[in-house]
Amino acid sequence: MLNDVFFNVGYGHFLVLAGMLFVIGVAGVVVRRNALIMMMSIELMLNAANMTLLTFSRMWGNGSGHAFALIVIAVAAAEAAVGLAIVVAVFRGRRHIDVDRLNTLRS
């Protein structure tokens, strides 16, 4: 048992690690109120998905998961570029990026 958990590293280990990364990412988005930290947590979620994709790709022995992961990396870069631009614009107007203090729009 101990041997399985610690030494015979298999697919399961990667899936569990990915699951943990995903949960950490979700918790980060929910708990933290700084827009930049929230973006970092979202990146963590995407990387958890990447790790799962690669694990399954390896498991089924085909390359489509690898291609998917590369596409995800490219798209995440595009998304981060747009997101950072928005964060900069918000910071210029208010000198902070705390999402709880963004309340010009009535809610």
């Binding site: 990412g25 979202i42 089924w60 997101g83 928005i86």
Partner: protein, 480 residues
């Protein structure tokens, strides 16, 4: 696994036109001198209309049951995909027509807006064709990233920034769910029914429901929508409410309706239908109740669009559970909803001016006396949103609920009852605007935004809403 075939590109013409036109407009903007951007708007309208026409031609060429698999199974081309593509492209053209007037009036002459809009529309068309989880992801992202940019384009406006940041964070969060759900679904890639460990697969299905819940602004994942709708410039709000919502629904149509639908998957092996019906019921009800309390027109339409999203979810659940007519009912609903929403927002843009945006209900008092045509167009659109008989909205709701009753064993009957009761409730807040326009005195003169294109879209949408209601047969035959 087939390989790339040059003939496949012929089936992708509507997509290619939008994508190439988008890139051309972005290039043209960079080299364009002067501050009047109506030429860019014209180019956008031409591109979007060309895409619409090519989709309609392709719809007419394909047989009812004809399906073409493109690019080694990444995309699929059938009638449904081209009808949806035509809806997206036409909505984009209408948005491009109503934008220049708003840009001139409110002083945000960003030309890149048009290019980004076309690229975003190309993402929606990709969703209409999607037959692989990878293309669903790419389409959703192409669509969403463009709309984040459009929402935040007025960089100096604090409200615009705030709306963009909230929209972006929630959208990106949803992307995380979408991707992780997708990656877990790959577990079932080889043996769908016989997976010995469906745990990850069920988790994947649930995560996809959450992700698309964010994208179509379903309760409880809707909190970004009212803020984003209110803070974005009105043409962008129109685009978000009509095209983006339709794009997300198209993706769900492909994913839950076709790929994950059937006899076993929705309730049994995958179990995505149970959370989806609960979310649909919550969305319809909560969206309506919240809309009743709104004084701001854009916020009211935001909650109304949330509620319409809930009705569409009913249709999607029905499709997944095997209702034969649900797919054409959803597409008809999307057509009626897009036309109505664009019409309503073009009247909002027309009535508002730089000095007074006139977004509160009392600002609309007495509009009928001063500008009867605008008031009439708004009334037609609002009645259609509320689902009153002579309009397209009524038939859309009627067909969709009828399709939901056809599900085996009447599993969705309770949802239909909730939906019908809520349509009755929704008429209350739509009629509030109508009574303000017709039965109250104007306290100051209106100074509407003058623009021929805007008036054209307004009239066209109002006429189409009535046409959809009076002759729904033509449209229903078109979609199946």
């Amino acid at each position: 696994m087939s390989t790339f075939n040059v003939g496949d590109l012929g089936y992708m013409v509507p997509y290619l036109i939008l994508a190439i036109a988008g890139m051309l407009v972005v290039m043209a903007e960079a080299f364009f001198k002067g501050s009047d951007r109506s030429a860019l708007s014209g180019l956008t309208v031409v591109g979007a209309l060309a895409s619409t026409v090519s989709s309609i031609i392709l719809v007419r060429q394909l047989g009812a049951d004809e399906r073409h698999v493109l690019l080694g199974g990444m995309l699929v081309a059938d009638r449904m995909s081209y009808v949806l593509a035509a809806v997206f492209a036409a909505t984009t053209a209408a948005t491009a027509l109503i934008s220049p007037a708003h840009q001139r009036e409110h002083g945000w002459q960003n030309g890149e807006y048009y290019g980004v809009m076309l690229l975003s529309a190309s993402g929606m068309v990709m969703l209409a064709h999607a037959s692989d989880l990878c293309t669903v992801f790419l389409g959703v992202e192409t669509m969403s990233i463009g709309v984040y940019v459009m929402t935040g384009l007025r960089r100096r406006s604090k409200r615009g920034n705030e709306a963009a940041l909230k929209y972006f964070l929630m959208g990106a969060f949803a992307t995380g769910f979408l991707l992780y759900g997708t990656s877990n679904l790959l577990r079932m890639q080889s043996a769908l029914a016989s997976t010995s460990n469906p745990g990850l697969v069920v988790a994947g299905g649930f995560l996809l429901v959450i992700a698309f819940g964010f994208k179509v602004a379903a309760v409880p994942f809707h909190m970004w929508a009212p803020d984003a709708y209110e803070g974005a410039p009105s043409p962008v709000t129109a685009f978000m409410a009509a095209a983006v919502k339709a794009g997300a629904v198209a993706a769900m149509l492909r994913l839950f309706g076709t790929a994950l639908g059937g006899d076993v998957l929705p309730f049994g092996t995958l179990g995505w239908a149970s959370p989806l019906v609960v979310i649909a019921a919550l969305t319809i009800t909560f969206g309506n109740i919240a809309a009743v309390r709104q004084e701001n027109l854009k916020r009211m339409l935001a909650y109304s669009s949330i509620s319409h999203g809930g009705v569409l979810l009913v249709g999607l659940a029905a499709l997944g559970l095997g209702s034969a007519t649900a797919d054409s009912a959803i597409v008809f609903y999307l057509i009626a909803y897009c036309v109505t929403t664009i019409g309503a927002f073009s009247v909002i843009i027309y009535v508002g001016s730089a000095k007074r945006e006139r977004l509160l209900v009392e600002d609309w008092a007495g509009l009928a006396g001063r500008h009867p045509a605008a008031a009439l167009a708004m009334t037609v659109c609002l009645l259609s949103l509320g689902g009153m008989p002579p309009t397209g909205g009524f038939f859309a709701k009627f067909y969709l609920f009828k399709a939901a009753t056809e599900v085996y064993d009447g599993q969705l009957l309770w949802l239909v009852v909730i939906g019908v009761v809520n349509s009755a409730v929704s008429i209350y807040y739509y009629l509030r605007i109508v009574t303000a326009m017709y039965f109250r005195e104007a306290n100051e003169p209106f100074s509407p935004t003058r623009s021929t294109a805007l008036v054209l879209v307004m009239g066209l949408c109002a006429a189409l809403v009535l046409e959809l209601g009076l002759m729904p047969g033509f449209w229903l035959r078109l979609v199946g």
